[in-house]
Symmetry: C2
Subunit: 300 residues, 2 copies
Amino acid sequence: MSADIKPDWIAADWGTSNLRVWAMTESGTVLAQAASNAGMASLTRDGFEPALRNIAGQWMDGPTTVVACGMVGARQGWVEAPYATVPCPPVAEGFAKAVTADANLQVHVIPGLRQLTPPDVMRGEETQIAGFLARNPNWDGILCLPGTHTKWVHISADEVVSFKTFMTGELFATISNETVLRHSIGDDGWDQTAFDDALSDAMSRPERLTSDLFALRAAHLLHDQTLATARARLSGLLIGCELAGTKPYWLGQQVAVIGASKISSIYINALAAQGVPATQVQGDATTLAGLTAAYRRLKG
Amino acid sequence: MSADIKPDWIAADWGTSNLRVWAMTESGTVLAQAASNAGMASLTRDGFEPALRNIAGQWMDGPTTVVACGMVGARQGWVEAPYATVPCPPVAEGFAKAVTADANLQVHVIPGLRQLTPPDVMRGEETQIAGFLARNPNWDGILCLPGTHTKWVHISADEVVSFKTFMTGELFATISNETVLRHSIGDDGWDQTAFDDALSDAMSRPERLTSDLFALRAAHLLHDQTLATARARLSGLLIGCELAGTKPYWLGQQVAVIGASKISSIYINALAAQGVPATQVQGDATTLAGLTAAYRRLKG
């Protein structure tokens, strides 16, 4: 990394497990980037500033502005950024300012969103939503943000109207690794037909989910079902349950899926099988667009 | 434990985590009992005989017959007892004989049951079913055996016609302990209204299960939902999903619930809320009745 990089500001995506930073110009050009595994979960409150300096210190020379999103703004983060309540714009106001030892360092943390009924929360995805809307003004429809806790978001008039979180990613990992199914599910491999069948099974019979899960074990014992088939089937069951639960969201709507390409493709294919065309949107670029929009709002 | 106990045979319920033994007379009277945590999962193949001798050795004097059920008969157990295929009587033939160092020790392991389509398996519950039928000959209806992997079993003409396993117990433990919900769910406490509401929610909208789970976290963050309420609600969601998935089993049928009293009461109350009266049957006594029936069959 060159020592002569002098960004106008620094963008930071600071999640539970990872920290990613970009050296930015005023106009939104990326000069350099870096990442570390100094996620919120691994830090105590006084560990955040050193963790940031550790990967972005070489860009800090005199007054430095940082705009950050994600779990860094949680109660256990650097500074709690109280949630904004939907319906509201994804990123508007109420940025929280972290306490820093270095008076030259100004760190602004974007608030998450909350929904009172049914209760729901997000931190980090609001910035991706803001980035998507900055690039697609006046877009109305449904955003799907797959991940550990997949979000389905209803957008209208540049606001988040409502959203719904599914624990699909976390359940996939936990069921694969921590239950009796760990003996029957592989760490990799894929079987598209098994995924498609499971998706269809779960969409038509979501009430059988917790039984269909045990059948992954039994099919291994009785029919030598492969670990890759079981893995694809588990994914299909969980995403099928999710699509059944979000039908009022996506039916007859325009849908965009924001995320990493592999998981996004799985959702896009699953939606296509329901006759719903969905646009794939690159997750990292959208995060950066959202952090840039937040920086501009901050500068007024 | 008195040294002068001389049983005619020994009954053993040998599961994944525990071993329980009873010193029995020919006529089925219990002379003494003992238990240890030497479950199948903690033993290698040559550890079973010492583990049995460790808690039942004082009853072994000369030729000794042991009848055992449970995961001791799995592929990773003392001896693999191949599954019988439903429809069939719960316990009939094909007992597996374990290899023993002591020629005086005869250990007979009861086979589990399998269902080819949809694939399903049980080991241990077949013995409880046999015990129930020994006490209730010609009983037709539905048995529910709640536990780590809850079984719903259709009984007709003294045979198991079909069965269906739900991972309810294991999912309850794994979700409570291994996901983000661990911060929001208590180890104890109960809220009956929360259970009832969640049961009703999941029965009418099972497709929302994986979203309703995340709402347990959000309700804690936003509405200070207590850990006890979340615990009862998690139980209600999982059992509600299970009752929705087993409706073709229990609707209009006579139902008996075999298990420990606490978890059985939860199921019986949940079924009562659907207008289904269910009989509670004590699990341990039923296991022993099944082992006794198996012993008699063995003796011809």
